[in-house]
Structures are given as structure tokens and as C-alpha cells.
């Protein structure tokens, strides 16, 4: 009836799943923890304003189009606003997901793999977003046709 090969308890003392691999020195986790709180507080202001401007004030979402975005980014304040928001939100989110992966991915390989995907996408998105904000031309000339709007400088 009994399975003959059950290990007797404590034969290996502490099961490997519980032994800390190696003590990590340095303050990375502390800084990450602190960053989450500081960036979180800032993001509340940044995002709530963003939501207010984009979704509540004026005609809300129905007013959003290329012109709306271009109109905002014509103003350097909004450029910096959105840039800060992009960076903080991405880092805040990435760190959040990193913690979740640490919590739930039991196998080292899974954890490495998931974190690889996470960090790659973060880098891609942050670089892409930054480029878009900085290289954005509110009055692009596409295929020789100029996009004209009231915020565009008169040619």
C-alpha cells in the first residue's frame, strides 16, 4: 500500500526551495522599493492630469485625433510631461511586473526567460516612445503633401 520511496522528513534538512541562493548585497531592492513609491506619487499627478485633459475636459475622447496630439506636442511643456510620464510609468510598470515574476516563477529558467521578454519590451517601448515624442513633426509632409493645421507655422 505504501509508496516505498518517500524520503523521511528532514533528511535533507531545509528543502532547496527555501534556501536563499546567495545574499544579495547592495541596495537595488531598496531603491526599487523607494522608486515605486516616489514614481507612484508623481504618476498620480501626471496621469490624472493627462486623463483630465484627454478624456474629461472639452469633448473628451471624441475630440482626440492627430490634430489633438499634434496640438499638444507643439507645446514643449506637454512634450516633457508626456516624456516623463512615459519613462516613469514604464519603469514603474516594469518593476511591478518584475516583482510579480519573482513571486510566481518558481523555476530559475522560467524566471530568466520571462524577465528577458519583459526587459526587451520595456526597452523597445521606451525607446520608441521617446523617439516619437522627440522626432515628432506636428506638420509632417507626407508624399509631398503638407499636413496643415492652425498650430502649424505658416509657410
Amino acid at each position: 500500500m505504501a509508496t516505498p520511496t518517500i524520503e523521511s522528513p528532514r533528511s535533507g534538512r531545509v528543502s532547496p526551495g527555501y534556501s536563499r541562493s546567495s545574499a544579495s548585497r547592495g541596495n537595488f531592492e531598496m531603491i526599487a522599493w523607494l522608486f515605486m513609491r516616489l514614481s507612484g506619487a508623481l504618476l498620480v499627478v501626471l496621469i490624472f492630469t493627462h486623463l483630465w485633459v484627454n478624456l474629461v475636459s472639452g469633448d473628451g475622447i471624441s475630440a482626440i485625433d492627430f490634430g489633438f496630439v499634434a496640438g499638444k506636442w507643439a507645446d514643449p511643456l506637454w512634450q516633457i510631461w508626456d516624456l516623463t510620464m512615459l519613462w516613469l510609468a514604464m519603469l514603474h510598470g516594469t518593476n511591478g511586473i518584475r516583482v510579480i515574476i519573482n513571486d510566481y516563477a518558481e523555476k530559475n529558467s522560467t524566471r530568466m526567460w520571462l524577465k528577458g521578454v519583459l526587459y526587451t519590451s520595456t526597452v523597445v517601448i521606451v525607446v520608441l516612445g521617446t523617439l516619437v515624442i522627440f522626432t515628432f513633426d506636428p506638420c509632417p509632409v507626407i508624399d509631398g503633401v503638407a499636413h496643415v493645421a492652425d498650430y502649424c507655422p505658416a509657410t
Partner: protein, 592 residues
């Protein structure tokens, strides 16, 4: 079977065991075997404090402490031991403080002290503040602090290793050209609860510190695990047990449950009342009233109930009244015990008195030792390498009645002495050869319990044992009740041979463990009852209604109970006596 080799093996990881381990671990290769995790030991349940004549809050000295201990024990105390304890108490408290114990403090930052039952200034003139404490969890803090220091010193623990046998051999020794047989200890056999395997530990010194035997009673403050195993294994191997008739009943157990409310409650000013609202201790101990020693208070309470002044629907308890104390004071000094009253009885101690009744609390008797904690095989022969300390031992510093706080003191003073002595012995001695087939008897014991199919239930036998002990061998005893108890125990012992253990597995077979424990309980109940029968006088915790007076002429002696199957009238327990050691205090009438 696995064999381990250590210089010193300590059996039990309560206060005494760990105090010994801290000393021994720093001097010799030491292992501690415990059937629980160390921090589960019952030292942790002690609440009130630990007395030492620090004189931090008022004048005091260790001689007064010695006197109180001797008088509290109704002069059956070995006074050399009491002197050692009272004198070393001061260092013991300071040791603990240095190990980190968070004592409550005086406004000057010194260790605070409070009153406790039976502790007086100047030989009984008035209560004195002598008990050092950490709120009402002094025992908890002692246990934690000792464990912490064991961690600090890398003491090797074998947790959940249940010691079932003491390996004793008779060795020929030649002293002054004369050859004789001497009892020697070679090691212990233990049962690993997790795997069900037997492990033999060979050691030069062995310290038994396995605690008490309160579970022979139904109403008890003791843990389920206090089943007299250490006393049992020694007794079965021919070591006598001293003064086993003296068992302390703590006055303030929660009525019906036995859970302890510390004497510290009375130390802080709580008083006892009967159903008439009368502070009845004024009649029994006019000077120190509610702070009289435990035997007197317990007996007074039982007497109130017997004479019809008990409270409650069945008039079977008295009341502990704290309602005149400030709630803030109660919270600061007695947080845990007020919580017990709330949790378990639903009584609010700020506004209502708490139902209490005496609860079996502490074995004054145990394995006889001298003041170096060496175990005695008779009145004066030391077993080389075998030590005992704590409740399992009888030094005897408690005589016939232990004073409150002296148990925490006992474990620290004699635990330390045992640890040092065991290590020193181990450093000079050789290993004693372990006998061939060292586990054969233990295996037989386990196999018998495991394979017997008689259908008797361990729990039922234990319950009947506890019932008869509560009814017949409690605060009041007579020849009649004791004889009846012995015959009931004999019957139970016979039924014990026909038990069925339902769990047949190896892993954590706690069903089997309980069966083995019951064997020790039956043995100890027999010894206690036989010793009580033998002592035809009343002294301290032992009150014979048929002999209500103390009889110094015939009974100013310790009793020594030996295992002897030929002693049929007393169920295989032979009783002898051992003289009491006097130094400076002659017996007087014990009045408070």
C-alpha cells in the same frame, strides 16, 4: 538504527536544558534532544517572575530569600541547596539580563521587582519586592532568551527526538583495592518522531532536563507534553525518585480549565473572595493574606468550597478579584492573564471577578541530585556523568512546597550548574561502552504498543487515571483515597497491556507517542500515590486529612521511591528515606 557520539547529551530543551546547553555547548561537543521544538517547552508558560535579592527597589538579601524558601518548603528543603540557589539567584538574573532578557525596569533603569507569594523581608516580617519580571510573560522571555543564546552559540538541537531509554551499565571500579559495581551511564536511545527511526546517542555526560509530570492530573496548568518521561526512564533504570508525594496545586487556575493565572495577579494586588464576597485569606494567613505560599492558599480555597462557600452554579470555585485595580495598571503588568480570562471564560477582569480553582502545577519531587546537579543512585552514591536539573530533578530546593518564582530560578541556577559540571566531566572522562543491542528494549516497548490489538483506548485509560488522581490524590488525601487510587491505577496498568494504537505508520506517529507517554504517566502516578501513602503527616503540598499535623519526629526526611516489583502492597514501589540537610534554620511552626 543510527549512532551519534557527543561529549554531552542534554535531554529536554526547556529552561533548564537550554541553560545547561549554553554552558556545555561552549565547553564540549553537545547535543540537545527534545521531543518538541525548543520554544514549545513549558517554561514559556511561566508568567510571574524570577526572585533574586537584587535589592533594586527595597532592602533585601539572599539570606532572607533562603529563609523564605526553607520555610515555604515547610523545612523539608535541603538548606545547602537553598543557600546555593538564593545566593546564585542574583547572578542568574544578571546572566539573563546580559543575554538580552527584556526585564521590566524601574524609573532608574534597573531591573524592576515585585511581590510574590511567600517572599518576605527579614524572616517573614512583611512581603518584599523580590521577583524580577518581564510583564506577565517572564517564562516566555526566559525561554526565548535562552533559545536565542543557544542559536548564538550554535547549539546542536535534535528537534522532535523523543528519548525513551537511558543506557545504564554496571561497571567494575576499584577504589582503595576494593572492587565493586558502579552504575554508569553510556547514552540514550531516542525515537525520531518524524521518521520513526531509533537513534542511539553515546555520550560521556547526560543531563536530564525533561520537565514535569502534571498530566497525571485532569485539572492542570501543565502542557499536554508533560508526561514525566525523564523521571520515568530514570526510574525504570533503577534510579530512585525523591519526594514524589509533594505536588503543588497552584491556587489560581481558571475554573474548570486549569489554565494558569499567575500569582503575579495577587502580587499586583488582586485578592481572593468566596461566594459571600469575603476576602477569606484574612482568616487563613492574617499577616500576608493572599500572598501566602501556594499550598496554604490552595488548601484554603479548597476548604472554602468544601464548606459551601464556593461561587458559581455548582459552588465549585472561588473568585479572583482585580476590579479594585486600575485597568491601566492591569494592562501594563498583567496583559496576558487578563486575556486568558476573556478568551477562555468570557469574563472581563476589569469589572468582574474571575472564577478560579487550584490546578495541578508543579512536581516538587523528582530525580535526586546533589547541589552539583549530579544524579544520586541512592542516598549518597553519585552516578558519574549523569545529571538532572529543573522540574525533573529534586535537589531539593523546594522541599514540600515550592515558592512562586523559585522554579524559574531553579532552572537557571541548577541548569547552569548541570551544564558546567556535565561539560567538565566529559572533558576528563572516557566514553562508556554502549551495551550490545542498545535498542532492544526500546524496540520491544514500541512494538508492544504498536502491535497490541486488545482494543483498549489510550485516551480513555489516561482520562480514568487523571480522574482518579484529581479525586483521590489532590489537595486533600487520606489513606483510604490513596489506597483506592493505587488499586485503580493497578487496574489501568493491566488494561494498558491491551491497548490498540490505531496509527500503524512510522512518520509522525503521535498516536504511538501518546501510548508510550501513558506508560510513564501510569508509573509516575503509582510512585506519587505510594509515596503519599507512605508519608503519614501533613506538610507543604501534601495534606493528609487522617494525619493533619506536621510530624517532624517521624517524617522530617525525604522519601526515596525505588522500582521494586517485590513491593506488592505499594504496586511495585519501595519507599526509603533520606535525611534532610540543615544548615542554619531549625524547623518552626509555619505561620503567615
Amino acid at each position: 538504527m543510527q549512532v551519534h557520539k557527543y561529549d554531552v547529551v542534554i535531554v529536554g530543551a526547556g529552561g533548564a536544558g537550554m541553560r545547561a546547553a549554553i554552558e556545555s555547548g561552549q565547553r564540549a561537543h553537545t547535543a540537545v534532544l527534545t521531543k518538541l521544538y525548543p520554544t514549545r517547552s513549558h517554561t514559556g508558560a511561566a508568567q510571574g517572575g524570577m526572585c533574586a535579592a537584587l535589592a533594586n527597589v527595597e532592602e533585601d538579601n539572599w539570606e532572607w530569600h533562603t529563609f523564605d524558601t526553607v520555610k515555604g518548603g515547610d523545612y523539608l528543603v535541603d538548606q545547602d541547596a537553598a543557600e546555593v540557589m538564593a545566593k546564585e539567584a542574583i547572578e542568574a538574573v544578571l546572566d539573563l539580563e546580559k543575554m538580552g532578557l527584556p526585564f521590566n525596569r524601574t524609573p532608574e533603569g534597573r531591573i524592576d521587582q515585585r511581590r510574590f507569594g511567600g517572599h518576605t523581608r527579614d524572616h517573614g516580617k512583611a512581603p518584599v519586592r523580590r521577583s524580577c519580571y518581564a510583564a506577565d510573560r517572564t517564562g516566555h522571555m526566559i525561554l526565548q532568551t535562552l533559545y536565542q543564546n543557544c542559536v548564538k552559540h550554535n547549539v546542536e538541537f535534535y528537534n522532535e527526538y523523543y528519548v525513551l531509554d537511558l543506557l545504564m551499565v554496571d561497571q567494575e571500579v576499584t577504589v582503595d583495592g576494593e572492587t565493586r559495581l558502579e552504575k554508569r551511564v553510556a547514552g540514550v536511545v531516542s525515537y525520531d518522531l518524524a521518521s520513526g527511526e531509533l537513534h542511539v546517542f553515546q555520550a560521556k555526560s547526560i543531563v536530564i532536563a525533561s520537565g514535569g509530570v502534571g498530566k497525571v492530573y485532569k485539572t492542570t496548568s501543565n502542557a499536554h507534553t508533560l508526561t514525566g518521561d525523564g523521571m520515568g526512564i530514570a526510574f525504570r533504570r533503577g534510579i530512585p525518585l525523591e519526594d514524589m508525594e509533594f505536588f503543588q496545586f497552584h491556587p489560581t487556575g481558571l475554573a474548570g480549565l486549569g489554565i494558569l493565572l499567575s500569582e503575579a495577579a495577587r502580587g499586583e494586588g488582586a485578592i481572593l473572595r468566596n461566594s459571600d464576597g469575603e476576602r477569606f485569606m484574612e482568616r487563613y494567613a492574617p499577616t500576608i493574606k493572599d500572598l501566602a505560599p501556594r499550598d496554604i492558599v490552595a488548601r484554603s480555597m479548597a476548604n472554602e468550597v468544601r464548606e459551601g462557600r464556593g461561587a458559581g452554579p455548582n459552588k465549585d470555585y472561588v473568585l479572583l478579584d482585580l476590579t479594585h485595580l486600575e485597568p491601566a495598571h492591569i494592562d501594563a503588568k498583567l496583559p496576558d492573564i487578563t486575556e486568558f480570562a476573556r478568551t477562555y471564560l468570557g469574563v472581563e477582569p476589569y469589572t468582574e471577578p474571575v472564577p478560579v480553582f487550584p490546578t495541578a502545577h508543579y512536581a516538587m519531587g523528582g530525580i535526586p541530585t546533589n547541589i552539583s546537579a549530579e544524579v544520586l543512585a541512592d542516598n549518597d552514591t553519585v552516578v558519574p556523568g549523569l545529571y538532572a536539573a529543573g522540574e525533573v530533578a529534586c535537589v531539593s530546593v523546594h522541599g514540600s512546597n515550592r515558592l512562586g518564582t523559585n522554579s524559574l530560578l531553579d532552572i537557571n541556577v541548577f541548569g547552569k550548574r548541570a551544564g558546567i559540571a556535565a561539560a567538565q566531566y566529559a572533558l576528563t572522562a572516557d566514553f562508556v561502552e554502549i551495551p550490545e543491542n542498545p535498542t532492544v528494549e526500546t524496540e520491544a516497548l514500541l512494538d508492544r504498543a504498536r502491535s497490541s490489538e486488545g482494543g483498549e483506548r489510550v485516551a480513555l485509560i489516561r482520562k480514568e487515571l487523571q480522574d482518579i488522581m484529581d479525586a483521590n490524590v489532590q489537595v486533600f488525601r487520606t489513606e483510604e483515597t490513596l489506597l483506592e487510587a493505587l488499586s485503580v491505577i493497578d487496574g489501568l496498568e493491566e488494561r494498558y497491556t491491551r491497548i490498540t494504537v490505531q496509527d500503524k505508520g512510522k512518520r509522525f506517529n503521535l498516536d504511538l507517542l501518546e501510548a508510550v507517554e501513558l506508560g510513564f504517566l501510569l508509573d509516575m502516578a503509582k510512585v506519587m500515590t505510594a509515596a503519599a501513602l507512605h508519608r503519614k503527616e501533613s506538610r507543604g503540598g501534601h495534606f493528609r486529612e487522617d494525619f493533619p499535623e506536621r510530624d517532624d519526629e517521624n517524617f522530617m526526611t525525604h522519601s526515596m521511591a525505588y522500582r521494586d516489583p517485590s513491593a506488592t502492597r505499594t504496586s511495585g514501589v519501595r519507599l526509603e528515606t533520606k535525611p534532610v540537610i540543615f544548615t542554619r534554620y531549625q524547623p518552626m511552626e509555619r505561620k503567615y
